[in-house]
Symmetry: C2
Subunit: 261 residues, 2 copies
Amino acid sequence: MPPTPPTGAQTVTFRPLISAQEITPGFDLAQLLWEAGREYWTPGLIAIITHKAVAKAEGRLVPLRQVQPSPLALTYAQTCSKDPRLIELVLQESQRIVRMTPRALIVQTKQGPICANAGIDLSNLAPSSEGEGEPVACLLPRDPDASARRLALELEKKCGFLVPIIISDSWGRPWREGIVNFALGSYGLYPFSDYRGSLDSAGRPLRVTRMASADALAAGAELACGKLGRAPFVLVSGFPWSPSSAGSQELLRPLERDLFP
Amino acid sequence: MPPTPPTGAQTVTFRPLISAQEITPGFDLAQLLWEAGREYWTPGLIAIITHKAVAKAEGRLVPLRQVQPSPLALTYAQTCSKDPRLIELVLQESQRIVRMTPRALIVQTKQGPICANAGIDLSNLAPSSEGEGEPVACLLPRDPDASARRLALELEKKCGFLVPIIISDSWGRPWREGIVNFALGSYGLYPFSDYRGSLDSAGRPLRVTRMASADALAAGAELACGKLGRAPFVLVSGFPWSPSSAGSQELLRPLERDLFP
């Protein structure tokens, strides 16, 4: 039985929380979030966090010099003119290759979502301590829903109430240019706005029934934090979420129901 | 030369404008928007409008009884248990069939975007005057970028400054459950946030370079207006858009560059 849908209209605000703090492995992200949002904590908020902050805190960083490329990685890296060690990491983080062309490597990640290069990123990482500017890959968190849950429960201890967490990442899409943010992980809120059983203003059952609101929240948050603004967190107020233990895994369409495998 | 990117972080607010007014063909949408937003007009805003309000005002309504289904529409309608007249309209509004299965009919619309059922909707339409509750199809606006431009220019006469317009629609996506809103049409703002040439905090060029901000704005607006809230408009404040005459057509990936044709 899905939670009741939001029925009305309401002003929704995305507020970025700036932090100049460099996030390193083992970092207490819940404490940083708590401090960055100190003036704002109030029941009803949602906190959105870039996956990179979570991945760094969880130590999902791999210096490329530690990676031994496989034969496939070496061959394909030549085709697409990329670093074979980066390709090797992408293959290791994948459960399925969706498209492999000279221009793009699109995979289903072990975590479930489908995206280019398994979501692995070389940008925005400080030079490693062992080598000035050495390339370091940032992998996706191992289990983003579990990361969101851990963060939400730690934050709840500080706030005294639950603040749902969405971990966002930016991916390309079929058919459309440009990237948008998606919910890579989430905890605490039902990831859909469910209108099944609702009637429209003419009394006819609504045909379109499930909005992927966790994805829309992630997309909106990107507008507030920008890419250069050093805002790893965005607080959303005004959106009437429904409490749920369902995570962002619910947003993944099973392969057998997908038309673009 | 793309416009300069937004560089910082800022609070972004989505405010729904409620209207109980039934929108009918020939309706002055710019006047309704102007009145609904009367307390808020100030330079820097963006106005987001549901495509259905635009389509109704432009008279893109077709009573199904006027539609003569073709042989293909009749055959396929049996396969998918839908009204053959609705299928016929979908075919007429399409430039290309992308997927046609018993569960889904996904097409490239004449307007360019790819979506299920050519974006045609039967919900939220008042009964026609000629028959109580007679099914009426609402087609997409014929040229959504042109509709957005017209609205923006009319609104500019009233406001004295340009308010960019985004016309939104909600579509499904490959790989993910639930629907989100996209920019079906736009005018006045550059539809991307362009980071090409920018450096990250470690001084490395950003790899991911174009956010589809018009799509993210449309997605965020849906959180504010809901589906049952009778809010055809949402005003966005706080997002630093760049003026541009480029419309949402720029968001369409050309077929020859797409991996999921």
